[in-house]
Assembly symmetry: C2
Homo-oligomer: 143 residues x 2
């Protein structure tokens, strides 16, 4: 297996609402409209997709039943504490749910979490030990 | 927000078992050992991380309660139907749970799903309309 995740798909309850949140709110690039059955976002590296939750379960041949913490988080690393604060300010403006306000972390970083319309968790985080390249992907110096 | 997911973190119930599954079974590159509190995998694009599920919920400031379908899938795109079959053969050998056997899809592709030790779903898929680059990331020609 090549070391790559090609696409991360979030199973959403309201496609139009989620497309607006990611496209208009967060400004992620996409050719998708609110009416599409699947929406792809042109990310650097791994692509993000939105697809109706029920259909995603059907596609995977499993029960769609499920609730509570998904067990998965997505992190968006930035290059400074200020960038964390600025992005979280944007999240508040677009009606995102900030579930952990920006704060210092036990490991020497600074971060926050917000939930998307379906409750999927995004961490916005500054790790002073990691470099983030121009495309927003991490270059690890140490761990 | 830059269009990039830096890290996807899977909250796992047994770190050592999951590290072995991804590192030894799937062969994903990492410097992590079974005893680490967090394991990072050096992927192209979005990095994969494993972290204890309960601690991940604590980090995000939410309840760890949750069950059933996580609502999220990870896709690993390959360049041929044979590559799908070959990777799924490997999954069977390492004790992975194939939840959807390789088959043609309604949209003209060929794919399969397997579940990792915690039930997180990976799609292994060939989309004849998409090109997969040498690093395993997708170049979309059309949608």
């Amino acid at each position: 297996m090549k070391p790559a995740i090609s696409v991360i798909t979030l199973g959403v309850s309201d496609m139009a609402n989620s497309v607006r949140f990611y496209r208009d709110g967060l400004g992620l690039p996409t050719r998708a409209s609110e009416k599409d059955q699947i929406a792809f976002f042109e990310m650097k590296g791994t692509m993000l997709a939105l697809f109706p939750r029920h259909e995603l379960a059907v596609d995977a041949n499993i029960s769609p039943a499920g609730s509570g913490f998904a067990g998965i988080t997505l992190s968006h690393n930035v290059s400074s504490m200020k960038e964390v604060d600025d992005l979280i300010s944007t999240i508040r403006k677009i009606g995102g749910n900030v579930v952990k306000v920006p704060q210092e972390t036990a490991w020497g970083g600074y971060g926050s979490y917000f939930a998307d319309p379906d409750g999927y968790l995004w961490e916005v985080v500054y790790n002073p030990k990691w470099k983030v390249d121009e495309e927003g992907l991490v270059i690890r110096n140490t761990d």
